[in-house]
């Protein structure tokens, strides 16, 4: 087992921030899956520990066993040998159906049942567990709110009336419905456009902050893995562990050629995806509340030197971002939250640049827990930060080179001296 402690604090999630850990630890011990008639095993002796409350991403090229490994955790595929425990309990102890009711399962596209309403879809597992109707109703409302879908509007809609992103959100809500300690996701954000994907990723991070579940997520997108994962498991053929580390370590110290090729490490631009928005200067902008007299808000903005205004609703969530000259009427109006592009604090700089390019302000609103307004981040700040990282990386490179030319004196704390670390780039 390679459970390296991540040294880069910016990419580890201290699950205490915001919420407690409600996840459970998952352990795979020597898990193997061999299909009859095939010479090589699909998964061969996979052992790893997924710590409670963390997001672990399974990444690797297609066919290398990531989905198979995932599906063995909830026994959709039964292992040929080996043991899997969730929270210290062997998954084979209970019936497969019973197990799955306590493990969330979210797949690409949401896979909502088309003949059931959104509410009915979400209510499936609670109903299977025998919750009473009132409790279920309340839970459905809670969850729709959590995934940013207005319960009043959406609970009675049918899946075909929703957009791809909305369907995926309902899929996540459904996975969370029975409040399971573990959630399995299989390419959950693959079926939507990049902008929606970014929002969904941000929302997942936000949800995780308050819930602290153990999430195992399969993806083929290394950028997504780096953004979302506390740890990343890179799989080679036969689900062989190439490396299992925090994202920063993965980029800085790839274990072999396969990993470095896959991760694209050495590219300092990739490091961009590591930096979080929260590390850049977020400065406050003038805000106003829905229903507040417009004049006062405009005065406040003018005196602060701002030419735009962020309008918040009663829960401190930004609903609109208007230029002062656009403000009409006596009071501030609520905008459409769903069309307003925002950035989560935990979003990467990659996302920040994408967002700014589509906004008319060349800056972006940053939100924190539950979509609450935090501040504004602008283009200049991002560029400054990027430059700083680049300089850092270049310094690191040159110090490595000098270290190599003096083999006796310098015991490098980085990965052992093989070709992969230094020669490329």
């Amino acid at each position: 087992m390679t459970t390296t402690e991540s040294t880069d604090s910016s990419s580890s999630r201290t699950s205490g921030s915001g919420g407690e850990i409600s996840g459970a630890e998952i352990r795979l011990e020597g898990v193997t899956k061999r299909y009859p008639g095939q010479k090589t095993a699909a998964v061969d002796g996979l052992s790893l520990t997924i710590p409670a409350g963390e997001i672990v991403m399974f990444v690797g090229p297609s066919g290398f066993g990531k989905t198979t490994s995932l599906k063995m955790i909830n026994r959709l595929i039964e292992p040929s040998s080996g043991k899997i425990t969730i929270g210290d309990q062997d998954v084979r102890k209970q019936s497969a159906d019973e197990l799955r009711r306590h493990v969330g399962y979210v797949i690409q596209g949401g896979s909502l049942f088309p003949h059931m309403t959104v509410a009915k879809n979400i209510a499936i597992v609670p109903k299977l567990l025998g919750w009473d109707a009132k409790r279920i109703d309340k839970r459905v409302e809670e969850l729709l709110d959590l995934v940013n879908l207005d319960p009043g509007k959406y609970r009675d809609r049918y899946p075909r009336e929703l957009s791809g992103g909305q369907q995926q959100r309902v899929g996540v809500a459904r996975g969370l419905a029975a409040d399971p300690p573990v959630i399995l996701m299989d390419e959950p954000f693959g079926a939507v456009d990049p902008i929606t994907r970014q929002r969904l990723q941000d929302e997942l991070l936000s949800i995780q902050r308050s819930l602290g579940k153990t999430i195992v997520c399969v993806t083929h997108d290394i950028d997504e893995a780096i953004k979302l994962g506390d740890r990343i498991l890179i799989l080679q053929e036969g689900a062989q562990v190439a490396q299992y580390d925090a994202p920063a370590t993965l980029l800085a110290d790839p274990a072999n050629d396969f990993v470095s090729d896959f991760v694209g490490s050495g590219s300092s631009l990739k490091q961009l995806t590591l930096s979080r928005v929260s590390e850049i200067d977020i400065h406050p902008a003038t805000t106003g509340r829905v229903g507040e007299p417009a004049r006062e808000a405009i005065e406040r903005a003018r005196s602060a030197g701002d030419d735009s205004l962020v309008i918040l609703d009663s829960r401190d969530r930004p609903t609109a971002w208007v230029w002062l000259r656009q403000v009409q009427g006596e009071t501030l109006h609520e905008g459409d939250r769903e069309t307003l592009t925002t950035l989560d604090e935990r979003a990467t700089l990659n996302d920040a640049l994408d967002t700014m390019l589509t906004s008319s302000h060349s800056a972006a609103i940053v939100t924190g827990d539950n979509d609450r307004y935090v501040g504004i981040v602008d283009f200049g700040a991002v560029v400054d930060h990027m430059r700083a990282i680049q300089n850092e990386a270049q310094d690191r490179e040159s110090s490595k080179v000098t270290a190599e030319s003096d083999p006796e004196d310098h015991h490098d704390e980085n990965a052992p001296m093989d070709d992969s670390g230094s020669a490329d780039e």
């Binding site: 159906d97 799955r100 009711r101 306590h102 797949i107 049942f113 088309p114 003949h115 309403t117 049918y158």
Partner: protein, 213 residues
Amino acid sequence: MWQFIEDRRAQILINAFNHAYLVVLAIVIATVIAVLLAMVITRMPRLEPVANAISAVGLTIPSFALIGLLLPVTGLGATTALIAVTFYAALPILRNAVVGLAGVDANLLESARGLGMSELSSMFRIRLPLAWPVILAGIRVSMQMSMGIAAIAAYVLGPGLGVSIFVGLAQIGGKNAVNYALVGTLGIVIIALLLDLLLLALGRLTTSKGIRV
């Protein structure tokens, strides 16, 4: 002809009702049998070509022949009529049920299992409801077919408007022969239409709004 109908109104209505009742009963029984069989076949896909072959062969056998085969066993009367109609009604429904159940998106079924639904639960709450529109299409075809077969069965003393047709036939050349035959035939056409509309309405009611085309 109108006077003819007026005079025999009661009898005609009774025959019409019997005809409809026979067909509806046969369809209900046929649906239950066919859907159950289809569920079994869905679990064992190897059986599918066999089921389809049996279905094709079954529909090839002329209804009059089947009736002839049943006679020694079940004699003249309503029982034979019911069995014959049910047999033929089951075949299109079976074929459609198998296709419909097989056509449900595998991802959805996996999701259902992934959420913790048992196989049985998934069959009844996901697979069947989603296959229902296809099954219903089969039921509609079955129903139209059954109308004609029920009429033929009147020859062996089955109930319904076929009786009227055969009475007309027996009296061929006589004063009211054409009326009898016409009333029988048109009556069946009308009932077929009514029942079809009812099935359509039933379909709309029982098909979830989420999958209605």
